[in-house]
């Protein structure tokens, strides 16, 4: 009896030390994930000229400055937006087709292709950007929006491929077989059965891909010409050279935009499920 009591006291102590350690470390992680974004948001509403935190006073002056006299930042945002839309659209076409072909394949070639298509998520993109620049300059192709879009498709395709495959393998193949057995032609069966069922996967992948393209620096660094400076590189330049508070306002816009879009996508396509 006494021995059991001693043991349980020891196990209580161990239980406490375990949950205390995990709780503290986990809470630190959760805090670290959220806090910086909140701090930037608060700082962007400063009335001062520096990135002092907490700010001495609050105003929307830097947002006004961003809208009214920062044509170069707005122009960069437009270019980023156009490139992200184009590269996501091309990425969807290429990656969804590939996903349909690879999802149920067990063969060696399919696994090799899959690993190859996923490689941009693991290799330093900087090397791919430099490699593309070297190739374009050897071929005498001038840098343009098109070269930039090509580079960005390398980033968008893997995300779309991953979520579409994950969605497609959960789909019961009997559904497609029944459609075909009932006389639907392949394209009709795809359009009316397969496509609606894998749309959440495509949408989630396209959204993640869009954000990745919009945010990419490593590829754009090598492939954008003087006329097409993208937003993240513009912001990088501003932060590196002057620490202008407009960068905080631009960050504020990006943060709020991301939160709104992500919440919409969460409702529409169950975004977070597709990111695991």
């Amino acid at each position: 009896m006494a021995r059991a009591a001693i043991e349980s006291a020891a196990s209580r102590r161990e239980r406490r030390s375990f949950y205390l350690t995990f709780g503290l470390l986990g809470a630190t992680a959760a805090f670290l994930l959220g806090a910086p974004t909140v701090i930037v948001l608060i700082t962007s509403f400063t009335s001062g000229y520096t990135l002092k935190f907490p700010p001495a006073g609050y105003s929307v002056r830097w947002y006004v400055a961003l809208l009214e006299n920062s044509p170069e930042i707005i122009a960069a945002a437009w270019i980023s937006l156009k490139i992200a839309v184009a590269s996501t659209a091309i990425g969807v076409l290429l990656a969804v087709a590939a996903a349909l072909s690879l999802a149920r394949q067990r063969a060696m070639w399919a696994r090799i292709l899959d690993a190859m298509f996923m490689s941009p998520l693991m290799l330093p993109l900087l090397a791919i950007g430099l490699a593309l620049l070297v190739m374009f300059s050897r071929l005498g192709i001038e840098l343009s929006m098109m070269t930039l879009v090509i580079g960005h498709v390398v980033i968008t395709a893997p995300y779309i491929l991953r979520t579409t495959i994950a969605n497609y393998v959960q789909l019961d193949p009997v559904l497609i077989d029944s459609a075909r057995a009932l006389g639907a032609r392949p394209w009709f069966a795809f359009r009316t059965v397969t496509l609606p069922l894998i749309t959440p996967g495509i949408a989630a992948g396209a959204f993640i891909a869009f954000m990745a393209s919009f945010d990419n620096v490593a590829i754009s660094l090598f492939l954008s010409d003087a006329r097409s400076q993208v937003l993240p590189i513009k912001l990088w330049n501003i932060i590196e050279s002057s620490l202008d508070v407009r960068a905080a306002a631009a960050s504020g816009v990006l943060i709020l935009g991301t939160i709104v879009l992500a919440l919409v996508m969460e409702r529409v396509a169950g975004l977070s499920r597709h990111m695991r």
């Binding site: 670290l32 070639w109 695991r276």
Partner: protein
């Protein structure tokens, strides 16, 4: 047409993406390796002088070592605090899981420039840490917190944390809770259960997370340059500088190839470990 026959024909759908990746990833990377074989910026003689030059130059070797060391420290830090977060996630009630998942996913979607900028606000001369220390009277003037390797590690760890936590959540959610209970009923304490049951079973997710964080941290141009400043040189900026500012394409290509091969080696080792650990789990 039978399902198998249809599947056999489906390979055609992968052709467009295969052609795209061949033309715009693999051919360029091959060309990169070729350009790195030129001995000088004017690209006259072929050979391995860029590589022999790199591996006999203490300065350049140090840049590579610093880059890999940075990525390693970042990986360890994200693992140390990301693992408990993923573990707590699996124990949380459903509503808290939704909140936590959004807290983990949102940063991943937010611009890296913005998230790096946050660290400048936090660590800057008038940042939150300096203001706090000054208010407490612990320091007389603001400390230089930015532009140190430790600052880069912390910023990178925070920025890459979702990449560690997401695969861990998947791995930990797949572990049968009965196994933990069985271990505790049989007398193993919480810690022993964790180290002998939970941790080994989560190794595939853990390796996947480590792989993603290491690879991303080694190539993290924005965070390395903004938090590290001009004084700390890592491979990504070195490559950019040699290619765009100095126009020394053979050296830039060699540096990129060396970074690529280094990261690829780590990725393949971790992948191989992951495969053998999966075999271990399924007996």
């Amino acid at each position: 047409m039978s399902r198998t026959a249809r599947r056999a024909r489906e390979w055609q759908l992968a052709v467009p993406l295969t052609l795209f990746f061949t033309a715009f990833v693999f051919v360029p990377l091959g060309l990169l390796a070729f350009v790195s074989a030129y001995g000088e910026p004017e690209m006259r003689t072929l050979g391995i002088s860029q590589y022999t030059g790199f591996f006999t130059d203490a300065f350049r070797l140090n840049v590579l070592a610093q880059t890999l060391w940075l990525a390693l420290r970042t990986t360890v830090l994200t693992l140390l605090i990301g693992y408990p977060l993923a573990y707590l996630y699996t124990l949380s009630p459903r509503w808290l899981q939704r909140v936590l998942l959004l807290l983990i996913v949102l940063p991943l979607l937010t611009s890296v420039v913005v998230r790096t900028f946050a660290w400048i606000v936090i660590l800057g001369r008038e940042g939150i840490i300096n203001s706090m220390l000054l208010a407490l009277g612990w320091i007389d003037g603001p400390l230089t917190l930015l532009f140190t390797p430790t600052a880069v590690v912390f910023a990178l760890a925070q920025i890459e944390m979702p990449l560690m936590v997401l695969p861990l959540i998947t791995a930990l959610s797949n572990i049968d809770p009965n196994l933990r209970q069985a271990s505790e009923v049989l007398g193993a304490g919480k810690w022993r259960t964790f180290f002998t049951v939970t941790l080994p079973l989560s190794i595939p997710g853990l390796l996947a997370g480590c792989l993603l964080v290491f690879a991303t941290a080694a190539g993290a141009f924005v965070t390395q340059t903004l938090i590290g400043g001009g004084r700390l040189l890592f491979m990504p900026y070195y490559i950019y500088q040699q290619a765009i500012q100095v126009n020394n394409f053979p050296l830039a290509a060699a540096l990129a190839t060396i970074l690529l091969v280094s990261v690829l080696t780590v990725v393949m080792v971790l992948n191989a470990l992951g495969r053998s650990s999966r075999g271990f789990i399924h007996g």
